[in-house]
Symmetry: C2
Subunit: 141 residues, 2 copies
DNA sequence: CATATTCAGGAATTATGGTACCTTTATTCC
DNA sequence: GGAATAAAGGTACCATAATTCCTGAATATG
């Protein structure tokens, strides 16, 4: 398994691709983006198709075409990118999927919910502009 | 989508099933456990098959048989249960799955890694005994 | 106008997770 | 001791989601 967060490769591609577009500040073709972040071009294209439908990027066909961010990167949160790919992110839903835990109360005492909220806050707080700004050199997480 | 953490239904069944066994302190059949926590008996059986192979429960066949926890519930962390189902939980791995981020550094600045570690710490810290003890009435998370 | 480039959309494929069913083991009751 | 029953083990199947592939449409350029 890959990680503890439910971040699909699609979302990761969206984060990295959008981050790259934000840094470059110019239109880039799907081919260029995929090469730059070392992912499958087919998959990236599919991901950007969704981002385009969500209005987060504008796409242009034909030679010299490609994708460009439609808004100021400082206004685009990771959450919006996440939602464009995965649909609505629910938080605080019982892991069992039942509305009432068979135990009568949540056996985790609400702590998992707290941590999910923390992650959600992070997605809401961080913008595409932040992705290029931060340079504290964390390892790959 | 269900939640932000990569908790499959299988892991959730394992947590709840083991929690129940810990509370009861006695052998229970798969049928009983599945009924108590309102999940598919077929799936629960498969999950417990893995828990048995991992040595976390002892299984007994035949009438009156079932599953029982092999160790003191205070000694069994959620992490061990998690690993028995999902395999090794990696933390701090780049969301893209590459060993070196194409950006040269992690674009998330290590914060996602920090949050993953926090969740991992939680799994390491909480034992089956804790699941039944906590009673602060959180909502279903 | 022909051609090359680039994205759009849907079809086909693959992978994953969950389900159903049959087999084996053990107990109980006659 | 044998038959019936209760229970877990194992395997094969199915459903859904994720990924790739293929064809078509749009646009720029010579």
């Amino acid at each position: 398994m890959a990680g503890l967060f439910r971040i699909s490769e699609a979302v990761s591609i969206a984060f990295h691709g959008m981050g790259l577009l934000a840094v470059r500040g110019a239109r880039m073709s799907g081919h260029e983006i995929a090469n730059a972040i070392c992912v499958s071009e087919a998959h990236l294209l599919k991901v950007f198709q969704r981002l385009a439908r969500a209005g987060l990027v504008h796409s242009t066909r034909g030679p010299g075409g490609g994708f460009e961010i439609t808004e100021d990167p400082r206004a685009v949160t990771l959450f919006r990118v996440y939602e464009a790919i995965e649909g609505t992110a629910e938080c605080g839903v019982c892991l069992l999927g039942t509305t009432t835990c068979p135990f009568g109360r949540c056996i985790f005492g609400g702590e998992t919910e707290r941590m999910e909220k923390e992650f959600l806050d992070y997605l809401h707080r961080v913008t595409l502009a932040d992705l290029s700004a931060k340079d504290e050199g964390g390892t790959n997480a």
